[in-house]
Structure formats: structure tokens, C-alpha cells
């Protein structure tokens, strides 16, 4: 039983990472109906910026803050330069453009910083507590706390501020929002900026666990895609819960299902997602779309 709870705690911690990246993906999807396959690599790039600032002697928290702002600007820049011009193209073309972002940012990190793995500073102290035999480290607790903060923050912004209302409106119906005087383009731009910043937070959580490398976020991206699908692509809450479910399922499945084991653990999120989708094709919290003829 102790093992079970230990695995759940570990699963929640890694689930928090998947959830934050999934949140970034869902925010972009909701606003612009685009799945940004480059999200993870953009986050890695921003994390490298943070690492570089630390190396130059900037205090850790300050460099994270500066890199967060950079990530926000990066999201806006990517939207202006890449997504705007292809936004009228067929969906397939947009997919290839975001895959292009994936390639570009991975190559950029590789070119600027090389393929060596770098130790990434952790935001959390290296301590832990024993609760009836279950070990809870500060970093696991911190990750879950960060996710809860992100959830609360996005919830508050979207529900209680004029900005959030305007962003929801432009995501819901761009043309009508334009008619009531909402600067839709600017809202979408902000959406991309926020998403990039949230992706950067995910990278900050991953960095200390896996070491910093240009391909660090690639496996995480698959888990985040599965989480977003599991939760429903139009629900930020769903993405976060989906991430936690995927994290726990992965951690439990890899230990308790002997034929899957550690090497086939990548199957677990897909299986869980598939089972959920077969029951609810739009995901746990997704809204059904009505097909009109």
C-alpha cells in the first residue's frame, strides 16, 4: 500500500509537468484551432535562455522571470511572423508550419548550446518529508503547487477579468467579437504569448529532472498531447486533469503491469486516452460539437 501511494505521489508530480504543457497546447487550440507541435521546443529554447542567464551570474529567480517574459514575447513573435501569414491556409498547411516551428527551435537550441546535457537549477530546495513511509520531496510538492497556481491563475483571468472575457469571446466567435469592438488579433496574439509562458513553466519543471538538452521536451510533448486529448481539447481544466491522470496511470502501470514494464510505458497514456475516447469521443471535459448540414 505504501508503494501504491508512493507511485501516486510520483505520478502526480510528473503529471503536473504534462498538465502544464497540455494547458499551453489547449489555450492555443481554443483560441486559434491550431495544435502547436512546436510548443515543447519553444519551451526548451526559453529554458536554455534562463539557464544562460544563470550562467552569466544573474540570480536564479530573476533569470527565470526574465526568461518567462522572453518566452511570452517569443510566443507573440511566432504568432506574428509564422502563424498569422498561414492562418488562412488549409489546416494541413498550418500543421506543417507548426512542425516547422518544432524543427526550427530544436535546431536553434542545438546550434546555440550544443547537444551536451546541462544541469538545470531547481526552483525547489532539496528536502523531503516522510508521511507514513511515503516520501514527498519538496520538488514533487512544488510541482503540484505550481500546477495549482497555474490553474487558479488561468481560471481567475478567464473568468473574472475583462481581458479574459475578451479572449474567451475571440476564441468563441472571432467575427462577432470584432463587431462588438474586441481587438481579436491582439487577443489571439496574447493567447499565444500566455501559452508560450506556460510552456516555459513546464520546461522549468522538467529541467531539473531530466537535465537540459535540445530534445528534452520531445517525450513530454506526446504525453501532453495525450493529456489534452484525454481531457478534451477545448477545456483548460480538462487538460490539467488529463495530465494528472496520465501521470498517475503511467507511474502505476509501469510498476504493476509486468508485461508493460518500464520500456513500454509510452503505451500507457495512449491506452488510457483511447479507452476514454471510445466512451466519450470528445474527451472528458470536451463539448460535443453539433454537426449541421
Amino acid at each position: 500500500m505504501v508503494l501504491f501511494f508512493q507511485l501516486v505521489v510520483d505520478g502526480l508530480a510528473s503529471g503536473a509537468i504534462y498538465a502544464s504543457l497540455a494547458l499551453a497546447l489547449v489555450l492555443i487550440f481554443r483560441a486559434t484551432r491550431i495544435v502547436n507541435f512546436g510548443q515543447g521546443e519553444m519551451a526548451t529554447f526559453s529554458a536554455y535562455c534562463a539557464w544562460q542567464l544563470c550562467e552569466w551570474g544573474v540570480p536564479m529567480m530573476l533569470s527565470f522571470l526574465v526568461a518567462g517574459v522572453l518566452a511570452f514575447l517569443l510566443g507573440i513573435g511566432v504568432f506574428r511572423l509564422v502563424i498569422r501569414p498561414v492562418s488562412t491556409a488549409p489546416v494541413e498547411a498550418v500543421v506543417v508550419a507548426t512542425l516547422g516551428l518544432f524543427v526550427v527551435f530544436q535546431a536553434l537550441s542545438l546550434w546555440l548550446w550544443g547537444s551536451d546535457q546541462r544541469a538545470f537549477p531547481s526552483m525547489f530546495p532539496n528536502v523531503g518529508w516522510d508521511i507514513r513511509g511515503v516520501r514527498l520531496t519538496a520538488s514533487a510538492a512544488g510541482m503540484i503547487a505550481v500546477l495549482i497556481c497555474l490553474a487558479a491563475l488561468t481560471g481567475v483571468v478567464f473568468r473574472f477579468t475583462r481581458l479574459g472575457l475578451a479572449m474567451r469571446a475571440s476564441a468563441y466567435d472571432g467575427e462577432k467579437s470584432l463587431l462588438v469592438g474586441i481587438p481579436v488579433e491582439r487577443m489571439l496574439m496574447l493567447g499565444w504569448g500566455f501559452a508560450a509562458a506556460i510552456g516555459f513553466v513546464a520546461a522549468l519543471l522538467v529541467g531539473p529532472r531530466l537535465f537540459l538538452s535540445p530534445t528534452m521536451m520531445m517525450p513530454i510533448l506526446l504525453y501532453a498531447l495525450a493529456s489534452a486529448t484525454l481531457g478534451g481539447w477545448d477545456s483548460p481544466l480538462g487538460a490539467m486533469i488529463g495530465g494528472l491522470i496520465v501521470g498517475v496511470a503511467e507511474s502505476l502501470g509501469a510498476t504493476f503491469l509486468p508485461f508493460i514494464g518500464a520500456d513500454l510505458r509510452v503505451v500507457i497514456p495512449i491506452l488510457v486516452t483511447l479507452v476514454v475516447l471510445l466512451v466519450r469521443p470528445v474527451g472528458l471535459f470536451g463539448t460535443r460539437t453539433v454537426v449541421k448540414l
Binding site: A31, T32, R33, I34, V35, V82, R84, P85, V86, S87, T88, A89, P90, V91, E92, A93, V94, V95, V96, A97, L99, G100, L101, F102, V103, V104, F105, Q106, A107, L108, L110, W111, Y172, D173, G174, E175, V184, E185, L222, L225, A226, T229, W233, D263, L264, V266, V267, P269, I270, T273, L274, L277, L278, P281, V282, G283, G286, T289, V291, L293
Partner: protein, 335 residues
Amino acid sequence: MSTQLLRFAPAALVAALLGLPLFVPDFLLFEISIAVSYGIAILGLNLLLGFTGQICLAQGALFGVGAYTTAILNVSFGWDPVATLPFAAISAGLIGVIIGLPALRLQGLQLAIITFGVASAFPQLLLKMDTLTGGVTGLATDQPFAPKWFPGSQEAWLYGLSLICAAISIVVVTRLLRGDTGRMMRALRDNPVIAEALGVNLTKGRLAAFAVSSALAGLGGGLFCILNGFISPQSFLPMKSIDILIGGIVGGITSIAGAFIGALFVVFVPGFTTDINPALGGLIYGLCLIGMMMIARQGIAGLRMEKLPAAILGVFKFKSSSRFPGAVPGQLGGE
């Protein structure tokens, strides 16, 4: 004048393809053959995504199923590699039907993610079944040697083999797209609800499309295995499926010629960009992809020369109204 020329274009193209070994060095010929094997897999994806409106991101894994079928039949059972090709296609087709089962209920994005999950699990699965697949060391297969009467090199012989495979797949796909089956597939893509109301069997249509598309991927994979002479799980990483998708879209997803143009793109362009600058190769390739989608939205095959300047200028026209709201049903971004 131009229509006269167009009538001879297919004949000229065939002549050019057959004459290619006379002008091109062996190594380049080998790479072109590899591109043809990818082209067959991309053709399958075009049939599925472009004409039936179903997405499958496991095309690289199915390519691998074909390759491993050829390799295992050759290594463990001593079959002639060329004779294994039909079986590579059949086995991949069967697996494709299994992968296609969720497609009966899922569409667009959800289907893309699930099939991409299959692609990610595939290399791990190969490692797990190492008694059959040779694990990390992979499998080395025999190559069919050119017969004595054949004047050209070994590469030219294999090039001929890949052209034959490509021709067979092109004939199969064009036959399918003509007539009733083609109309049914396009109906599935354009509006499944209306199609079903008019008596099209959705289940049968979708599974059949998956089967044919996967069989083509398997044929391409078997060919790849023969050409390369060696396969390992490293050849079938999830990025391969993404490359196949990129090839399909860059070439033109609703075009048969586009499949092979796209294959040439994904085989040669990363190499070219690395030649320009080894460190920046990936960067240039990525920018190429993005730029390509800004200029040629329907893929290279959909590009019209006379519209090219307007398309390039259109990229810099920032004041146009954008599409954002509303998903297109049955496509990648839609539900």
C-alpha cells in the same frame, strides 16, 4: 501548343525516369530509390488523408511493419526478398485495419494523437520482441542481385525494382479513385453524415481506406528494407511518421504526383540544408517548411507557376482577414 505538349508529358516523364540511370551516379540513384519507397508510403497517406479525410500518423510504423515482414521472411525463412513484397503489403494492411478501428469512432485531432501514439510505441515494441526482430542489432537482408544479362549496375537494377513497385501502387490508387469507390471515398471526406444518409457504408469505407493505405505503406517499407539491406528500430522512430506526413502535405495531399515530389523533398532537402551549413541545417530545413507553407498552400503539386509571384507577395500582405474561428470538419484541426 501547350496542350499538345501536355499530351506528351507522361510519356516524356516515363522516358526520363527510365533513362535516369544513364546520367545519374549510382549513389544518387540509390537515394532516389529510397525516396521512391517513401513515396509509396506517402501515396497511401494521400489516399487516406487527401481523398478519404482520415488521418493516420502511424504510417511510419506501418512502413516498419512492411520492412520487418520482408526482413523476417528473408532471414528466418530464406525467402527471396522480392517475393516477400506482397506479404509485406498484406501484413501491414491487416495491422492497418486494426489501427483503423478507432477511426470508426474518432476523427481528426483525436485520431491523429492516437495513431501517433502507435508510432511512438512501435520502436519500443520492436525492442521488446527481440527474438523475432533482432532487437537493437536489427536484421540484415539479402539483396536481389542483378541478373547477368542486365547491362547496368546493381543500383540501377534496384532502381528499376522500385519504379515497378511505384507503378503498381500508382495504378492501384488511380483505379480506386476512378469510378464508384473514388466517389465514395470523396463523399466520406466531404461530408460523412450526408454520405451515410445516402447509403454509403461508413465502416466499410473507412476500414477499406485504412487497409489500402497501410498496405501501400507496407509495400514501401518492404522495398525500403530491400534497398537498404539492413533495418533496425532506429529506422522507424516516430519522426518517420511525421516525415511522411510532411512529405504528403508539402508535395500536395490530393495529388498522386505530389506524393513522390514530397518524398523527394523529405529525402533530399534535409541533406541539402546540412550541406549549406552543418550546424544550421535543421534551422534552414524548418524555415523551408514554414516558408513553403506560406507560398504553396496546396503543396508543390498544387503550385501554379503563373500565380507564384502573387503567392510570395501574399505572405507579406499583413492586412488580410484571417480564418481563425471555426474548425473544418473531418480535418486535422477539427473535431
